[in-house]
């Protein structure tokens, strides 16, 4: 591993100051499950690594406030998957958190790290898109909110400004009942990076929100407001056509060895159809 300086700031302003001082030579460290791998294999060689785990304002927490569930950026997957409020209102996020890596990985991997790493395969991205999450970012200019749908650019690239970091991810508490599910495709049942991730939510107004990842440079959200998709009694052909339209933004890379584009696209449809059924079922069982 290349040598680098290690900083462990205690407060948020210190983090912002350090980021300002070191610019692109700095890397933030949360759980390290993405970062350390890239430090070891030499694809990243920052001059300084800034550890977020001791920052007072970032201590991992899930709080309910102002009609939102706020998940601190350094909250780990294990805690998200087990949280009763997440499980009550955002089941698909709990499901996504529960399939990230293995037990050991989930005990380290943070929600902030998962979205900031911005892998197209990031498991939490589809449910965050379906639930309309907002990313809370802090930087030299103070704090701002970024809708999750505007956050991802491509692998490793987000719309965070230089010098900014994520402090929390907020989910608006549902005003309408919703049934949702997170599903994924992997090469084995044991832990694996997904070759398709997909979350489908159906709400009582009949809207279907479908988000999927790993089939293009960034995760995609597509919405059907017609109510047809969510209606099992609507004509089959019309439903199939709508579902097909929701997938138009998928453009899997031919270079990946995890799955061919043809397989990914087919699985998107298989998973989409299955997830839709489950979401409708869950809404009915609510």
């Amino acid at each position: 591993m290349h040598t680098f300086a290690y900083e462990r700031p205690a407060t948020l302003p210190e983090v912002v100051a350090l980021l300002g001082r070191h610019g692109t030579d700095a890397r933030l460290l949360a759980g390290g499950t993405d970062l350390i791998i890239r430090l070891r294999d030499g694809t990243l060689h920052p001059g300084v690594v800034i550890d977020l785990k001791r920052v007072a304002e970032l201590c991992p927490a899930i709080r309910e406030e102002d009609g939102r569930l706020a998940i601190g950026a350094t909250t780990v997957m294990t805690d998200i998957a087990a949280d009763p409020r997440v499980r009550r209102d955002f089941m698909a996020l709990a499901e996504a958190a529960a399939v990230v890596g293995s037990v050991q990985i989930r005990n380290r991997a943070t929600l902030g790290g998962n979205i900031c790493n911005a892998s197209p395969a990031a498991d939490t991205a589809p449910p965050l898109l379906v639930y309309g999450a907002e990313v809370v970012a802090a930087g030299p200019g103070g704090s701002r909110r970024i809708p999750i749908a505007d956050f991802f650019v491509r692998s490793g690239q987000t719309t965070l400004e230089p010098g900014e970091l994520v402090t929390a991810i907020e989910l608006p508490l549902p005003r309408r009942r919703m049934g949702a599910v997170h599903v994924r495709r992997s090469r084995r049942r044991g832990h694996d990076l997904a070759s398709v991730t997909l979350c489908c939510g159906v709400d009582e107004a009949g809207w279907t929100r479908l988000a999927y990842g790993s089939v293009g440079p960034r995760p995609v959200l597509a919405v059907d407001e017609s109510g047809m998709l969510a209606d099992p009694d609507a004509p089959e052909a019309a439903r199939a056509e709508i579902l097909e339209r929701l997938f138009t933004d998928a453009s899997p890379s031919p270079r990946s060895m995890r799955a061919s584009p043809a397989y990914r696209l087919a699985m998107l449809r298989t998973l989409g159809a299955r997830a839709l059924r489950t979401a409708i079922q869950r809404l009915a069982e609510e």
Binding site: G190, R239, R269, T270
Partner: protein, 774 residues
């Protein structure tokens, strides 16, 4: 029998240390002042090395030594168990991606890694071959320098050797049905959890070497030759490996670290990363064409098997893998006429080596699958057809080899019963069954020394490597049984060539039989000393006394070992020492140099569910039954076969190397080379054994634990076929491959019926595991 002796399911000795991290593997052993070694490699498979500049590397603080071929004793020594073709470091040319060109030794790992990056190598990439087609092309570049094979007519090709076995004229054989297909077996790697690790240190006027090696005595010979030292000056420490599976059988980087330690005058240490291990060892890939002739009643008319095995850049033991693995290609059956041709084909890829099953899984996948096709074509139940042709005990099914040494039909019927063969299945499910056979060791030599100490406790010396298969426990059980000592009073010493007597190797499931017999004989030698002792103590003729399983029988009473030992040894104490030797000599003229010490016989039967939406193959139930002669430790026997079954599921369902155009392994490492995890196990895994005490080992034991790997792929593929109608002749049966085959099947069906295929999955119909017609 006692609860601790033979036949008892005792927990594995050392198991606790393994799972709690107490056991010291090579990488855990810290030698004072050890330098850390990092290898320098090129980013392509084959290249001409033009110049090596080590100046910058030498400037890195903490670097002590940088060596390339030019810095080694000239000419650079080559070594290998079959052909001495592998140089200590690449000489003039690299032949596979990952071949070491230079090595750095430094005070810290970081310094070694940094310096390794700074070694500047000027090179020219050369054309290379990574597949059978490319390697067999008459215009292909040669992998091996023809000068290494003077006088060999094949030296101008990439075929290292051809192996032919057969009997009777297949051309003359008449058959009602001939089934011919070609099957592919991918490149897979061992993935032992313990990293391959090597250390060396000057040791007086000799050298000490630590290695995760399976064959310490063989390594000792290799090092003695390269270093020009007598065997007695080479001490190989071989701590129990953490998984070997054949990948750790033969010398790899030990000669390099030994020379570096001597040059540096201090210990050096090299621990391979998982990525480097992928580049160091793998299983031989294969393409196998099988032509099977059947009579209408299901009996075999002939087998005609042509197997091309894809080796790597150096032969290692892989040509033996080819000859020995292809040799029983006709399986455990009565086959009136047979022709087997196997070729060892070199390529510019990771050298392939021994891997659990030793060349048999490749041919067994092909031959058993082909038999299944024949059975279906004839309308005969695949199990019945196999039973009908199965060699009966004592039958010389391979005319010039050991006759069938088990009641194999019992094993097959047990597996069939445990899977519920012939009972109705839910829709979407299918069953498959396969038989497999592997020839045990053809030669062997094991010595053991056993010391019965004054208090009745025992030390057993055995040169076997216990890499998780449980040899320590087996030898302790044998000694406990024979000498009447409690199990926890027995110490088994292994893995140090300065202390433990010679053992040829730990391979081919041999140790229970060969070393087990050596231990047994050493114990029996002690028994005869006890007998003489008892005769002396009780003033009677030794012929009146019998010693059996720890009991000394006088005409009028029974004594324990200690009753005789204590007074017999007297006030000075002392001990009884027994030596045992077990030898299986070469048989000149035999195609393999020797007949099988025993056969490993297995039957695997599985039930699968195929998800037609995704191509996932779910193992609902997996039954594996082996004929083991006698299970000295039934718990270990069951668990060994469970392990083999799961390892077999790896190459059956998910494992394979993926290469890029430059011959680099793309899925290098754990993220994209997937092996089964606990989540991927069959929902139910049943491992059972047939015991008729008819093996050549102690108490009738046979070798085991490779057998359960032989049949996994053909059994699973047959079950997938039963469930879906798909015939897939390539491994692994990955979800994507199965899905593709499903689409092709549906497209073909649509073409026949003229129906239009839906462009997408109907929203309502895509349920989990949607069943379809057969």
């Amino acid at each position: 029998m006692r609860a601790t002796g033979v036949g008892a399911s005792i927990q594995r000795g050392g198991g606790y240390g393994r799972v709690t991290g107490q056991q010291q593997y090579v990488a855990d052993i810290r030698l004072q002042d050890a330098l850390q070694v990092k290898l320098v490699t090129l980013d392509c498979a084959r290249a001409r090395i033009i110049a090596i500049d080590t100046d910058a590397a030498r400037q890195v603080p903490g670097v002590r030594l940088v060596v390339s071929a030019a810095d080694l004793p000239q000419p650079v020594a080559r070594f290998g168990p079959q052909f001495e073709d592998r140089p200590i470091l690449a000489v003039g040319e690299t032949k596979y991606h990952g071949e070491p060109v230079a090595a750095v030794a430094a005070e810290t790992k970081d310094a070694a890694e940094e310096a390794a990056r700074l070694v500047r190598i000027e090179y020219e990439e050369l054309p290379a071959v990574f597949s059978l087609e490319a390697a067999l092309d008459p215009a292909a570049p040669l992998v091996q320098d023809p000068a290494l094979r003077p006088g060999d007519p094949l030296a101008g090709t990439n075929v290292l050797r051809e192996h032919r076995v057969g009997w009777e004229e297949i051309e003359a054989a008449r058959a009602d049905l001939v089934v011919e297909h070609t099957y592919e077996f991918p490149m897979v790697t061992h993935f032992a959890i313990e990293p391959h690790a090597f250390m060396a240190a000057p040791d007086g006027d000799g050298i000490a070497v630590w290695s995760s090696i399976q064959h310490p005595n063989w390594l000792q010979k290799v090092l003695a030759k390269i270093l020009g030292l007598p065997l007695s000056k080479i001490r190989v420490h071989a701590p129990d490996p953490g998984g070997g599976f054949g990948g750790k059988q033969h010398a790899k980087l030990e000669p390099l670290v030994a020379l570096m330690a001597l040059r540096a005058g201090q210990p050096v240490r090299l621990v391979l990363t998982l990525e480097e291990t992928f580049q160091a060892v793998r299983r031989t890939a294969a393409r196998v064409r099988v032509r099977t002739g059947f009579h209408r009643d299901g009996t075999f008319a002939f087998q005609d098997v042509a197997a091309d095995y894809l080796l790597g850049a150096y032969a290692d033991i892989a040509d033996r893998v080819v000859s020995k693995g292809s040799y029983p290609a006709c399986g455990p059956y009565r086959v009136p006429a047979a022709r087997i041709l196997a070729r060892s084909v070199l390529s510019h890829t990771t050298p392939s080596t021994a891997f659990r099953g030793f060349g048999n899984p490749q041919v067994n996948w092909a031959v058993e699958s082909n038999i299944d096709e024949g059975a279906r074509a004839l309308g005969i139940d695949p199990l019945e057809l196999r039973l009908q042709n199965l060699a009966r005990r004592g039958e010389a099914f391979i005319p010039f080899d050991t006759p069938a040494d088990g009641q194999w039909e019992q094993t097959a019927r047990r597996a069939a019963r445990l899977i519920g063969w012939g009972t109705p299945l839910p829709p979407g499910r299918g069953r498959g069954i396969a038989l497999g056979i592997k020839s045990g060791p053809t030669t062997g030599l094991s010595y053991s020394t056993v010391r019965l100490l004054a208090d009745g406790s025992v030390i057993v010396y055995a040169g076997t490597s216990d890499m998780g298969q449980g040899a320590r426990t087996i030898f302790a059980q044998i000694a406990a049984e024979e000498l009447g000592a409690p199990l926890d009073w027995i110490t088994v010493v292994m893995g140090d060539t300065a202390v433990v007597p010679y053992d040829q190797q730990t391979s081919a499931s041999r140790s229970t039989v060969l070393m087990g017999n050596a231990v047994l004989r050493a114990c029996r030698e002690i028994q005869s000393q006890l007998r003489a002792m008892a005769a002396r103590l009780h003033g009677m003729d030794a012929s009146l006394i019998a010693v059996d399983r720890g009991v000394v029988r006088l005409p009028d009473r029974e004594l324990s070992t200690l009753d005789v030992l204590k007074p017999g040894l007297g006030r000075l104490g002392g001990e009884l020492i027994g030596n045992g030797e077990m030898r299986k000599d070469e048989e000149p003229g035999h195609p393999l140099g020797g007949s099988a010490a025993f056969f490993e016989f297995n039957c695997t039967a599985v039930e699968v569910e195929v998800d037609e939406g995704t191509g996932d193959v779910l193992l609902v139930r997996h039954v594996t039954v082996s004929d083991v002669g006698k299970a000295i430790n039934p718990l270990q026997v069951r668990a060994q076969d469970e392990g083999a079954a799961i390892q077999g599921l790896g190459h059956t369902l998910m494992e394979h190397y993926i290469f890029d155009e430059a011959g680099r392994i793309r899925n290098l490492g754990a993220i994209d080379y997937r092996i089964p995890t606990s989540m991927d196990l069959p929902l139910e895994l049943v491992s059972d054994a047939v015991e008729n005490a008819d093996g050549p080992g102690p108490y009738g034991a046979k070798g085991m634990s490779e057998g359960a790997l032989l049949c996994v792929a053909p059994a699973v593929a047959a079950a997938v076929r039963d469930a879906t109608g798909l015939v897939i002749r390539d491994l692994p049966l990955s979800p994507e491959r199965v899905w593709r085959a499903l689409r092709e099947r549906d497209a073909a069906a649509a073409a026949v019926t003229g129906a239009v295929q839906p462009a997408s999955v109907p929203v309502a119909a895509a349920t989990g595991g949607a069943p379809s017609g057969r």
